[in-house]
């Protein structure tokens, strides 16, 4: 066990994956000498060489399209998209090529590409630097989408993503990069399932589902709720496509109440998908309609107002009150 930051844990995971497989190759903007704008690839070009850690021209479609060609050639490209809001030029290559080539070729060509995306807000940045675009990708068949919430998962799951024969979007909550945690570097990534959700805090009154940057917030909310006599079970989804509904369903069958929280906008988001799926699967066990606590349906706002947009502990607790039928900010409103 060693203590390291979230960012360092990703770096260590990348390093181990590169040590294990010479076909693992890193591509992205500023990832070489600079080590990336967040320093996640710090030192890797120095240690593995410029032929394995490639500084790319500033063209996201170009990075993604050449990664496809690399994968055709037998490589396992790990692509860094510098910021969430910069992924859209690569959207066509991701959706039309990365996601579909395995299907198109009836399994003959694999696309073991990992797309690392620093995502989410809370860092006081200008437009395009704080977005949560995960639902675009969970809606696209052929992709796997994961999001990590702590240094140990960051370390383990980057390796699982890289060894996956299917393409993986790996969403990194950039505002948690400096969070420290214990990391067991001896862990065998193949011993656990990248698709499995994790029960962070057990509880029996309310199921609170989240992922990525809001996991620590949800955990804090559960602690605060327990002071109020409410037992909240927090689930860190980890895998967003597919979602481990068995774990969520087992929890909701126990609690009868579901709150979903994410930074991304509400409409058409993952909260909607989870609410619908859980309602379909265990409607008879629900004591209340599922409640969503999410970002608004707005472009990501300027930084002085971003904490109005981002769900925080109090908004999550308000959602917990709502799902419990307790007095809340919407009490008295027709639903």
């Amino acid at each position: 066990m060693s203590t390291m930051t979230f960012g360092r844990a990703i770096n260590a995971g990348l390093r181990r994956a590169m040590d294990n497989d010479p076909k693992v190759i890193l591509m992205g903007e500023d990832i070489g000498k600079l080590g990336g704008v967040f320093r996640i690839t710090d030192g890797l070009q120095k240690d593995f060489g410029p032929h394995r850690v490639l500084d790319s021209p500033l063209a996201e479609a170009g990075i993604m399209g050449t990664a496809v060609g690399m994968a055709y050639r037998g490589y396992r490209p790990v692509v860094e998209i510098q910021f969430d809001g910069f992924i859209y030029p690569a959207f066509d290559q991701i959706v039309c090529q990365v996601a579909k080539i395995h299907y198109r070729t009836q399994g003959a060509v694999k696309m073991p590409i990992t797309i690392r995306v620093p995502f989410g807000g809370g860092i006081g940045s200008p437009e395009h630097h704080s977005e949560s675009p995960e639902a675009y990708f969970t809606h696209t068949s052929g992709l796997r989408v994961i999001s990590v919430s702590n240094p140990q998962d960051a370390y383990t799951m980057i390796q699982q993503a890289i060894t996956s024969d299917d393409p993986v979007l790996y969403f990194e909550p950039k505002r948690r990069y400096h969070t420290k945690g214990e990391v067991d570097e001896g862990v065998d990534p193949s011993a656990s399932d990248m698709g499995a959700a994790h029960v962070v805090t057990e509880g029996h009154d309310v199921t609170l589902v989240t992922y990525g940057p809001l996991v620590p917030t949800a955990r804090d909310a559960a602690i605060a709720a327990s002071d109020d006599g409410v037992s909240v079970e927090v689930i860190d989804l980890r895998s967003l496509a597919p979602i481990d509904y068995a774990t969520v369903e087992a929890s909701v069958r126990k609690t009868g109440r579901l709150v979903i929280t994410h930074e991304a906008a509400q409409s058409g988001g993952l909260g909607a998908e989870i609410a619908a799926s859980i309602t379909e699967r265990c409607f008879d066990h629900l004591e209340h309609a599922p409640v969503r606590v999410t970002g608004f349906d707005i472009p990501y706002p300027y930084s002085k107002l971003e904490f109005h947009h981002l769900p925080d502990l109090d908004r999550i607790l308000d959602g917990v009150d709502r799902v419990l039928g307790r007095r809340n900010s919407l009490s008295g409103l027709e639903r």
Binding site: G62, G107, D166
Partner: protein, 381 residues
């Protein structure tokens, strides 16, 4: 076209009329006259009468494949077909220049290139009959299956070539695309990447003058080949209806790539004599006179004329070539009609390489739905 003494032809076709500095490489003119070219002749010095016949036969066969597939579409056996009529020389000339270990990333019109790579004839039709998303395992013939997103494959070729570099191999990635594709960001980004990494990739642009209904002048205001030097990529403009010239310029580009010289851009000036696809109607947007002009530059006719001038096109030989082409067409038709039907459950196959809980559930539910009719099965063959 005005012939110069060196055999080059000044640009008078389509785009860039009057543009200076872009001479068209031509070794065999429209009348079948072979013009010497001190630079390119050594690259095709091995092409004797037998080799010329072989190139001719391939062009006859792929034209016959094309007409048979069009007929199959008209008869309702194919949903769609993208004809290559008129582009046989560009595709056979370049395709025959490749080595087995080179890798092709093409669009959907390069059926003659696929023929050169040794594609199974039935595989050529699977996607167009609607029986599969694509026809073949790319690794069996070292050619990716047809790309439908315009220009996307140029990046794949460039990335593949970057992989070749890393492997220290001397293979080459070759990408085919049309004049319309050159407007795409992907193609321009591919040229940036190819130049930056000096990747062994050949950009083979078939300027067939039309992107469905849009003339090449809408895509480019200068000869397309002239763009490449701006990226730091040497380029050449070749008569795309001259199979020998296409072979020569492709060989030169491949040699450059193999020897560490990086990418090359080839603009093969040709003409799409047929529709964009069988669903298209060119009479709505182009002048019949234009077609007549290009029919006079037919890629097969000129090689036939050249062979005739060499006394290599006697009636027996011509009959044997026709018989060969008809045989291939019959095989193509039989393969099309005999294709196994996919099973309903096949729609779920290969979305992922590993089991997927979402998809498994949907498949299970759909199987139950089909079984509710009492006769359903979703099992594949």
């Amino acid at each position: 076209m005005a012939l110069s003494e060196t055999g080059d032809v000044s640009v008078q076709d389509g785009v860039g009329e009057g543009a200076a500095g872009s001479n068209l490489i031509q070794l065999v003119d429209a009348l079948g006259v072979r013009h010497p070219n001190p630079h390119y002749d050594p690259l095709v010095a091995d092409v004797d009468g037998a080799a010329l016949r072989s190139l001719y036969e391939d062009m006859v066969v792929v034209r016959r494949i094309d007409s048979e597939a069009t007929a199959l579409q008209r008869q309702g056996e194919l949903a769609l077909w993208p004809p290559l009529l008129g582009q046989e020389a560009a595709q056979i000339g370049s395709g025959r220049a490749l080595r087995q270990d080179d890798f092709v990333f093409s669009s959907y019109r390069e059926n003659a290139v696929a023929y050169c790579r040794g594609v199974d004839l039935t595989d050529l039709l699977r996607v167009w009959r609607g029986n599969a998303s694509s026809g073949w395992d790319p690794y069996t013939i070292n050619m990716a299956t047809p790309q439908v997103i315009i220009g996307a494959q140029t990046l794949h070729a460039t990335g593949y070539a970057m992989g070749i570099l890393n492997d220290g191999a001397d293979s080459v990635a070759v990408t085919y695309f049309g004049d319309g594709a050159t407007s795409q960001g992907d193609v321009n980004e591919a040229m940036v990447f190819a130049a930056s990494y000096q990747a062994p990739v050949v950009f083979f642009c078939q300027n067939n003058h039309w992107a469905i209904s849009e003339p090449v002048g809408l895509q480019a205001h200068v000869p397309i080949a002239d763009r490449a030097p701006g990226f730091g990529i040497p380029s050449v403009r070749v008569d795309g209806n001259d199979v020998l010239a296409c072979l020569a310029v492709t060989r030169e580009a491949l040699d450059r790539a193999r020897s560490g010289g990086g990418p090359t851009f080839i603009e093969a000036v040709t003409y799409r004599m047929g529709p964009h696809t069988t669903a298209d109607d060119p009479s709505r947007y182009r002048d019949a006179n234009e077609l007549e002009d290009w029919a006079a530059k037919d890629p097969l006719a000129r090689i036939a004329a050249l062979l005739d001038s060499m006394d290599l096109l006697d009636a027996d030989y011509a009959d044997s070539v026709k018989a060969k082409a008809d045989g291939v067409a019959a095989e193509l038709r039989a393969g099309c009609l005999g294709m196994a039907e996919p099973a309903p459950g096949d729609v779920f196959k290969h979305v992922y390489s590993a089991p997927n809980s979402w998809l498994d559930r949907q498949q299970d539910h759909y199987e139950r739905y089909l079984l509710s009719f009492g006769n359903g099965t979703t099992e594949g063959d």
